[in-house]
Amino acid sequence: MANSAGDAAWECYIGVVSKISGVQADKIHRNSLMTRDLGLDSLATFELAVALIDKFEAEGMEDELDSVDLRGLTAGAIFDRYLAVGPGE
């Protein structure tokens, strides 16, 4: 159960990643979440990035992207890296 904006963003993020990767949400851990670890190739990573944009927009949580910490990279940094959609750009 989400108890903070960060947790809500994390759940939102994991839901999308699970759907795209086919990996069960409870098997995805914060310290092992990278697209390659999840078996995503370039096209699937592209689809993941688009799905994340759509989901966070739909949930009105665009500003929460930075609160999701992924092995030292924030979700915003992931966006920067993969699709250059970092907050503040």
């Binding site: 190739d41 370039s42 688009v50 759509d54 927009e57």
Partner: protein, 208 residues
């Protein structure tokens, strides 16, 4: 659609169609495509002969003389662009349409990522923008991509959604002591519409 209006004034139907016309775009909010310039040549030569992809891409490990490479690289090319990141203009990759067959309405595509280990969604976005551009500029029905089997895992998830696997030449390539199949992939114009929407969505900045 043609109308009977042969006068000097603008045909209302044409005016309406022209208002809907959108010129093929080479740019979105994240990246842009620009023609290859002579100042790109040294970089491309090094990438193609000495980079991480050198043995896996066109030259397959060979190192032609620089001037020879320059002369050969534009043979049969219909359109070719560098993919550059908006903002810092860093190079992401190279996309090429070549061997166009206008009678039978197909052409070949090639794409080279300058960061082959990056699993870059940006590269995919650049390729998508280029495919959009080619389908809008020319009436091709199919765009072929040839790839060696060892490169295929980089984008295999797109099979039967973004492209179809149409042919396989068994053990066609040799690399690192092993024989690899050669795959012939095809992007169909009729199937591209959905992918094009994805490219358009991805190309817009979030929240704008």
């Amino acid at each position: 659609m043609h109308s009977e209006n042969q006068g000097a004034g603008a045909d209302p139907l044409v005016t309406k169609r022209a208002a809907r016309f959108a010129a093929p775009s080479l740019r979105n909010d994240h990246l842009y495509l620009r023609a290859v310039l002579p100042e790109d040549y040294p970089y491309l030569y090094l990438v193609e002969t000495s980079g991480a992809m050198a043995s896996r891409w066109g030259l397959r490990g060979a190192t032609p003389a620089y001037q020879e490479w320059i002369q050969q690289r534009s043979a049969g090319v219909l359109a070719q662009f560098m993919i550059l990141k908006a903002g810092d203009d860093s190079r992401i990759g190279l996309v090429t349409a070549f061997s166009a067959d206008f009678q039978d309405a197909h052409a070949h595509l090639a794409a080279l990522s300058f960061d082959p280990d990056g699993n870059s969604a940006m590269m995919m976005l650049g390729i998508g923008l280029f495919v959009d551009y080619v389908f809008k500029c020319w009436s091709f029905r199919k765009l072929y991509l040839d790839t060696a089997e060892y490169n295929y895992p980089q984008f295999a998830s797109g099979a039967d959604r973004f492209f179809k696997v149409e042919g396989r030449l068994r053990e066609h390539h040799y690399l690192d002591g092993e024989w690899w199949d050669h795959l012939i992939l095809a992007i169909f114009r009729d199937d591209w519409a959905e992918a094009s929407k994805l490219v358009e969505r991805a190309g817009s900045r979030r929240g704008e």
